[in-house]
């Protein structure tokens, strides 16, 4: 078998083709950065990769990464806690839901990025504002998915429990809560996306010790190599975090057939 046909055989599997596409793009990037684009503006992936250790060696970068990760974790935990409380309070009481959901939806629809400067003014330029902004993006999806999860219960299941003599507490514990769990995990996946967006936006806006400080530094010094390196690390962090919640959702949503 010739190399060409073996190659074509391998390409028939989509994941191989995907990797090939990525490699191709990286190759283009490499070529463009080396020969066409001013090195002040773009750096080839080979350089970026080689200089990753230098990025980590830059004083303050590892600490900044740790701080950012901590901001993400705290913001996510708070989003879940707040989202769960509000979601249950609103979702379990039909009247509360009809009254407050429209308000919540209205708030969710506004472009929060306009009040980013306000968050900084109120919470300062330290981690608190990043966490706060992350929470304000993250708790909405949880509220919405929990309310939806409670609302979506097939009435026959509630009727059936009632017919079998379930008390209100038993209905909550054995019917409503288990039914809500897949929605809750879906909400957490969306919350992670929101938290990532909020925290990173706030970091990029103003930061004295977080990674936002260094992105600004590298940008102003026209250092695309280290900037790309740092961004790659952050992107990797985002992908890993997203993947964790996604897997959790798949695992815990096992019974969800629809």
């Amino acid at each position: 078998m010739t190399a060409a046909s073996a190659w074509r055989r391998a390409l028939r599997r989509p994941w191989v083709a995907r990797i090939a596409v990525v490699v191709l793009l990286l190759g283009l990037w490499e070529v463009a950065a080396r020969w066409w684009v001013d090195p002040m503006f773009l750096s080839p992936p080979s350089h970026v990769f080689a200089s990753l250790p230098a990025v980590f060696d830059t004083r303050g970068v590892p600490a900044a990464l740790r701080i950012t990760f901590w901001e993400l974790a705290v913001a996510f935990a708070l989003s879940v806690a707040i989202g769960l409380s509000i979601g249950l309070a609103v979702g379990l009481q039909p009247f509360a839901r009809k009254s407050f959901m429209p308000i919540i939806l209205l708030l969710y629809g506004t472009p929060q990025v306009t009040i980013l400067p306000l968050f900084i003014l109120y919470f300062g330029i330290g981690p608190a504002s990043k966490i706060a902004f992350g929470v304000s993006h993250g708790f909405f999806p949880i509220v919405m998915t929990i309310v939806a999860g409670v609302q979506n219960i097939k009435p026959i299941l509630l009727t059936s429990a009632r017919a079998m003599g379930a008390s209100r507490w038993q209905t909550l514990r054995y019917v409503v809560f288990p039914h809500m769990i897949p929605s809750f995990f879906a909400g957490m996946r969306l919350a992670m996306t929101g938290v990532l967006l909020g925290v990173l936006l706030a970091e990029l806006y103003v930061s004295t010790a977080g990674i936002g400080y260094f992105t600004t530094l590298f940008t102003q010094n026209f250092d695309p190599t280290r900037l790309l390196g740092l961004i790659s690390v952050l992107a990797a962090m985002a992908i890993v975090l997203n993947e964790i919640v996604r897997r959790a959702e798949v695992h815990f949503g096992r019974w969800h057939t629809d």
Binding site: I156, T159, R162, A163, G165, Q170, P178, H179
Partner: protein, 272 residues
């Protein structure tokens, strides 16, 4: 009949949905009176929307009728009576996040059966319906027929005197229905339960019932009650007998006009 022999006393039950003048006003049930004998299997049959499911819900305490009353075990029905009445619904009412065994177990938790008894009862009822080997499966992994067997097992494990079944085999194909019907007959010959069974199928009613109450078109009331004198468990060859055909034909004659009437005025209004 003396109170000992009557399991369910239905007196003058009427039910309407909404108020007169509302867009969604429906008179579902009209002045229905009936005694259900202890240990009998009574079928309710009638055209769509004639109120048979409504009557079942009223008997089971899931709905309060706008007029009339129901008495079960000497008490007036005012809400669900989980110790006396168990339901099997047409729609899949098993909790999809629990295994079959957990579903059966949960019914007993709701009813208040002590923990020590639950496992034994669950095993017994699963075995009775033939699902012993599928106890650890999830409802999503089972066929429609098996899911209804599981629902039946859950109802049986509650060991109530009365079983109310609302078109339990309605969503299943004809062949599964046939098998489940035969199995149900065998099962009931052993148990001593009073069963009220709603169905659309003439064949099913004829095969299973001791008595068949035929409903008129909406607003429904009992048009006639047919008695079927054939001991349980009923053999499959009963279906091909002349007696079966005669009864089935009688049911058909009673129902045909009512069905036509219902189809003629079909469209607006929910089917209770």
């Amino acid at each position: 009949m003396s109170s000992d022999k009557v399991a369910i006393r239905i007196r003058g039950v009427s039910h309407q949905f909404g108020e007169e003048g509302d867009a969604r006003y429906v008179r579902a049930l009209r002045d229905t009176t009936l005694d259900v004998a202890r240990g009998e299997l009574l079928c309710l049959i009638g055209p769509s929307g004639c109120g048979k499911s409504t009557l079942l819900n009223v008997v089971g305490g899931l709905m309060t009728p706008t007029a009339g009353s129901v008495e079960v075990a000497g008490k007036r029905v005012a809400g669900p009576m989980p110790r006396d009445i168990a339901f099997v619904f047409q729609e899949n009412a098993l909790f999809p996040w629990n295994t079959v065994f957990e579903n059966v177990n949960l019914g007993m938790v709701f009813q208040g059966v002590p923990r020590a008894e639950r496992e034994a009862r669950a095993q017994r009822s699963l075995e009775a319906v033939g699902l012993k080997d599928f106890a650890q499966h999830y409802p999503g992994q089972l066929s429609g027929g098996m899911r209804q067997r599981a629902a039946l097992a859950r109802a049986l494990s509650l060991e109530t005197g009365i079983l109310l079944m609302d078109e339990p085999f309605g969503a299943l194909d004809e062949q599964t229905r046939m098998i489940l019907g035969e199995d149900l007959s065998v099962l009931l010959a052993r148990a001593d339960k009073t069963i009220v069974f709603v169905t659309h199928s003439l064949g099913e009613a004829t095969f299973l019932a001791d008595r068949v109450a035929v409903f008129s078109a909406r607003p429904g009331t009992i048009k006639e009650i047919i008695k079927i004198d054939e001991p349980h468990p009923r053999k499959p060859d009963f279906v091909t007998s002349a007696k079966f055909t005669a009864i089935r034909n009688e049911l058909y004659a009673l129902l045909h006009d009512e069905i036509r009437k219902t189809m003629a005025e079909s469209s607006v209004g929910p089917t209770p």
